[in-house]
Symmetry: C2
Amino acid sequence: MKKNKDLILENALNLFNNEGYLNVSIRQIASATGISHSNLIYHYKTKQDIVTALHNQILEFAKKLNADTQDNFNFIDALYHSTQKGFSLLYNYRFFMIDLKYILTENETLKQVYLEVGELRKEMYKNAINTAIEQGFLREELYPQEYDYFIDQIKIYSDSWITSSTIYDTEIPQKIITKYSDLFIRMFYPYCTQKGRESFKDSKLTKSFL
Amino acid sequence: MKKNKDLILENALNLFNNEGYLNVSIRQIASATGISHSNLIYHYKTKQDIVTALHNQILEFAKKLNADTQDNFNFIDALYHSTQKGFSLLYNYRFFMIDLKYILTENETLKQVYLEVGELRKEMYKNAINTAIEQGFLREELYPQEYDYFIDQIKIYSDSWITSSTIYDTEIPQKIITKYSDLFIRMFYPYCTQKGRESFKDSKLTKSFL
DNA sequence: TTAATTTTAGACCAAATGTACTAAAAAATT
DNA sequence: AATTTTTTAGTACATTTGGTCTAAAATTAA
């Protein structure tokens, strides 16, 4: 049987995702969970504590994702696969990205963690790109630090596609995730070698490359 | 002498930018303006009315910007120039982009306006790109609708760079605007022809292209 | 100058929120 | 079985908020 402590997180996540983090009060979460608000406070002193717990869940899932890398794909399909997995995870916790600024402003510790994780992500992109260059899928830089700028660009994209989707898209989550993963992958195309472009052609992306 | 009605907008804008739209109450705006909250309500019935008024200011400024296009620049400098102008304007009203989702959710009319303006922006990008292709600065598409995807990407970027900057950057506004304009311009580089790349070399971008 | 209109402040209200305190109920430990 | 610890609900409080109503003050028009 599920403990109330876990049920609180479940209900908080749903409320945050659907109503917006700032519109949800401790009392609402308690009510949705079917417990008294004083009981909720006993488990989590503030809303920030709940967010921190939810963020830890994200990190746990992310670790698992990084563990099982499927390399029986071509370059683009591998990229697509891991992108979709990552985007899908993030979408489950989408309130976090949507209200990121408010959440980090009121929680300095969490902000530090987030910034560190961000640096890690950048390094992972850097490594992936270097590997892809060595394997001949991506071209060399055309000017110094070109790929550093590119990484900054894709970082902004991955931080913000969810917020964009809440404004522009009305489709079901799976469609949305596919759409934005697809759009993300396409950012790599202009950096591809001929071999890399072949990989696009052979990939399972939604719309075909001629 | 400035009318209270204008002073309200001034103070609301400052509060929204500094404290976050959702953290600011009508009473706070009234207090900052030095008037009673009932007086404020007399001028603007709700916070939404204030946002709408501020958004109209944005649109007015944007119109003016579009009017004076400087074409005594090379391709990239012209792009850079107009980007910086636009980014700078938006930064003055940054609360709007940061809290976009909440603002549009609670104001359906404004949402429709915003979506229409968004379509207009896309068309403007489309035209600019087509012109640049004709003039030989940008290459032809490598696959169907490549530039449509690109436009979607730069749209997400221009919708979200401000939010990113509030999380990652601590510099002064001018630095921030320059940095993100620069990063934006660089998204075009991989689509450039040789002639286009020359234009980058000759440009006044912060860091030089070798 | 007088009358009409616009602008302003103040008092009041009901609802929601975070927080603190108390005590009972449930579960775990001895 | 007795006791200690954990979990739970209830109550009460001060604060903030959006909103309404009333009447005075300031401005404008006749």
